[in-house]
Every structure is written in C-alpha cells, then in structure tokens.
C-alpha cells in the first residue's frame, strides 16, 4: 500500500469521490423528481380524501361514521410498511396487481386520509355549537352551514397539526424503495452497491436535505404563525 495515503484521503475517497458522484448525479436527480412527484400526489389525494371523509362523518349517519372511525383507527395504528407489503405481495394473489409506485401512493394516501380526517373532525367538533345554531337560524341548510360557516373556521384551527402530519407522511415516500420505486433512497443505494463506493449515499443525503430542510423550516413557521390562536 502506498504510504502517502492517509485515513483522511481514504475517507474522502469513500464518501466524496467526484468521478462516482458525477456518474450517479443523473440517477439521483431522477430519484429527486420521482420523490417530489410521489409526495405531491400523496398530499393532493390524501388531504382531499381526508376532508371528504370528515365531511361525510359530520352528517353523523351511524353506518358511515362507524366505518370511517374503524378505517381511521386501523390506518393510524399500523405501520405503513405493513400495508405496502400487504398490497404489493398479497393482492396479486387475488388477481390485483399494482406497481410499486401505485402501492406506495395508495398506502400513503390512505394513511394521510386517516390522520387528516381525524384532525379535520377534531376541528369541526371544536367549533362552538352556537356557530351551528346561528347559521341554521338564518336559513342555511346543514350542508351550507358546514361548507360556509364551520369548515372555514375548522380548517384554520387544524393548520399546524395538519402541516406537521403531512410533512411526516411525505417523508415516508422513502418506503417505496422496499417495493422497487426508483426514488432518491433507491437510486442512492443502487448506486452505492454498483459503484462499491459510498459517494452516491452522500449525494442522496444531500438531495433529501435540499428537499426537506425548507419543508421543515416551513412547518416551524406555520406553527409560530398560527400559535396565537391557542390562547
């Protein structure tokens, strides 16, 4: 072995090898785009479904309310990875085959829907009864009261918990790597095992920091911005 190689050189060579980084940069970049794509899809469908379920539950029909309550509890109690494995490996057995991307999207959508339904519902229940009574006495119907009086107040109350929960669930897009979705983590570990060098992992870590540090700081800002409502 060349005596001039110091441990520091070896460290740089393992984690910051420029040739390897250049080779795998396009892969990491495509993983970055896929992660963004998947995260945005999950946020859009998950929050919409959660809001829809909370509105259905507000009508207080025993069967739908009970079904939604069971759905929300099960989705909140189980680790998302359980559903990913169940959908990916279990459903083909009954003739339903989905890609890893679809499975990850579906799982995270259901999990976000369950959590956001509960948060929206807590917001609806926390809106004072007098608001309902006043709105109904002016001649608004149940649906109109819910849409124009209750929801605008309830949604505002739920912004901080909803933001934090949504951020946490979008980070779970990394779970897609288990079923072969080519997002950042998957590209980074594939690159690491092909090159036998840890530099793709460092690139992947940088990609996650670029993506999520602003999101985390945004979450912190939302919390302080809405904090005065707690009084």
């Amino acid at each position: 072995m060349n005596p001039t190689i110091t441990p520091w050189d070896r460290f740089l060579d393992s984690f910051f090898k420029l040739e390897v980084m250049r080779d795998y940069l396009p892969e990491i970049a495509s993983g970055f785009l896929l992660t963004c794509h998947l995260a945005l899809a999950v946020v859009a469908t998950g929050l919409t479904l959660g809001l829809l379920l909370a509105i259905i539950r507000a009508y207080d029909f025993w069967l739908t309310s009970w079904l939604i309550a069971v759905f929300a509890d099960v989705m909140r109690a189980l680790p998302p990875l359980v559903f990913i494995l169940l959908f990916y490996f279990g459903l083909p057995g009954v003739g339903l085959e989905m890609s890893g991307y679809t499975v990850t999207w579906l799982t995270l959508t259901l999990v976000l829907a369950a959590f956001s339904e509960e948060i929206f519902r807590a917001g609806i229940l926390a809106t004072p009864k007098g608001q309902w009574e006043a709105a109904r006495s002016t001649g608004l119907g149940f649906g109109e009261t819910l849409a124009f009086v209750i929801m605008p107040q309830a949604v505002r109350m739920t912004v901080p918990p909803l933001t934090n929960r949504t951020i946490a669930i979008t980070k779970n897009t990394a779970l897609g790597t288990v079923v072969g979705v080519g997002e950042i983590l998957n590209q980074a570990t594939t690159g690491q095992s092909f090159s036998g060098n840890a530099s793709p992992l460092v690139l992947g870590a940088a990609a996650y920091l670029i993506l999520f540090v602003p999101v985390v700081i945004f979450g912190r800002w939302v919390e302080t911005r809405f904090a005065w409502r707690r009084q």
Binding site: F11, S14, F15, D73, V74, R76, A77, L78, P79, P80, L81, V82, L85, L86, F89, G90, G93, V94, E118, I119, A122, G123, L125, A126, M157, P161, A168, K171, N172, T173, A174, L175, T177, V178, I184, L185, A188, T189, Q192, N197, A198, L201, G204, A205, Y208, L209, L211, F212, V213, V215, V216, I217, R220, R229, R230
Partner: protein, 223 residues
C-alpha cells in the same frame, strides 16, 4: 370469498407461522422498550440545551433538530447501515437500528419538549428560583411537570410514531415482527403472515390511538 380467505386468512399457514411471529413480536417489544425511553432522554437533553444561556448551544440544538427531522427515518437507517462500513465502522444491525432511531426520535421528542418548556410562563422559573431552588431543581420539579402536561397529546402521538417506526428495522434484516412476517410470507407464498403481523400491531397500538384521539379532542376544544 374463499379465494380471499385462502390468501389472507389461511388457518393452516397461521398455525405454521405463529411461533415465528411470536418471536418477532418479542423483538419488536424489545425495540419499543429500548428506543422510547432512550429517545425521550435524548429529546429532553436537546430541549434543555435549547434553553441554554449560550447562543452556540441553542443554535446547535436547532441545527440538530432540523437536520434529523429532514431525513426520513428509513433514509437515516439505511445510510448508516450502508455507509458506516465505508468509514471502517462495522456495527451489528441492532446497534445501527438503535443509533438511527436515537438520532431521529431525539430530534422529534426534543422539539416537543422544547415547545412544552416554552409554554410554561417565565414567572414560574423566577418564582421557583427566588425560593432558593437551583436551576436544575427548578427545571425538574417546576417547569418539566407542567411542560409535559401541556404537550401530552404530541408526546403520545410521537410515541405512537416511534412504535410504528420499529417496523423499519425489517429493511436491514433485524428479525422483528414485520421481518418475521415477511420471511414467513416468502416461505409460504401467502400473505396470511402479514395479516397476522397487522393483528399484532393492532393489539399493541390500537389503545394508544384511542388515547391519542381523546387527548387531541380535549386539546382542540380547549383552544
């Protein structure tokens, strides 16, 4: 219908996989019992650091918290698992898992405890100090008990998340509940063991979900 029973609720496979899953469940319980207190202690340290009179200590806690909250926990785990050997550090899977979970959960618990400590009025600290309590006594006996009560829903919510987090250890081949279930699935070519694992998780975590719901409703109603 029969088809679904065969694939997801197969009794033969259930009895075969039972001992394997039970062992996996034991490992999951062990992880839960180790990771939650250690993460809480780490978080408490971070939170107390965030109240430090020295600016550089306060800032480094913010950097620590935001850095580790930006990494998805699975990413942290896999990067440590795949990356540390390159740095010449070879740790057993369970130590890597414990380390990754400590870094991740202490950041989250730290942020929650910090919010709790800051929700307790300054007057409390001043009053306690003026009665002759030291700074440490004030923190332990006056501020923290109130802080913990104020952020109880967030603490329960995070603890639930940490318990679910242990399932990630399956990805680095640590034989906890989900890993055992997935092994059983690949041996039997049947998804029943995963449904069983879901049952185990439900038994362990459903009471916590109920408790969380009650606390959350109380918190929002109190606003």
């Amino acid at each position: 219908m029969d088809f679904i029973l065969q694939n997801f609720f197969n009794l033969d496979i259930m009895s075969q996989a039972w001992p394997m899953l039970l062992r996996g469940f034991g490992m999951t319980l062990f992880l839960v019992v180790v990771v939650i207190p250690v993460g809480c202690l780490g978080g408490l340290t971070v939170a107390i650091g965030s109240q430090s009179p020295w600016r550089w200590v306060r800032w480094s806690t913010i950097v620590y918290v935001d850095f580790f909250r930006a990494f998805p926990p699975l990413v942290l785990l896999i990067f440590l698992y795949a990356g540390l050997p390159f740095a010449g550090v070879d740790l057993p899977a369970i130590v890597t898992v414990a380390l990754a979970f400590l870094l991740n959960t202490s950041a989250y618990y730290g942020e929650i405890f910090r919010a709790g400590i800051e929700s307790v009025g300054r007057g409390q600290t001043e009053a306690a100090r003026s009665t002759g309590l030291t700074a440490a006594q004030t923190m332990g006996w006056v501020v923290l008990p109130q802080a913990v009560r104020n952020v109880m829903p967030d603490l329960v919510s995070n603890t639930l998340e940490v318990a679910k987090l242990t399932s990630l250890a399956s990805v680095v081949a640590l034989p906890e509940l989900l890993y055992s279930a997935d092994m059983a699935r690949s041996i039997t070519f049947n998804a029943t063991p995963i449904v069983m694992a879901a049952g185990f998780y439900l038994v362990l975590l459903w009471p916590m979900v109920r408790l969380l719901s009650r606390l959350e409703h109380r918190q929002m109603a109190g606003r």
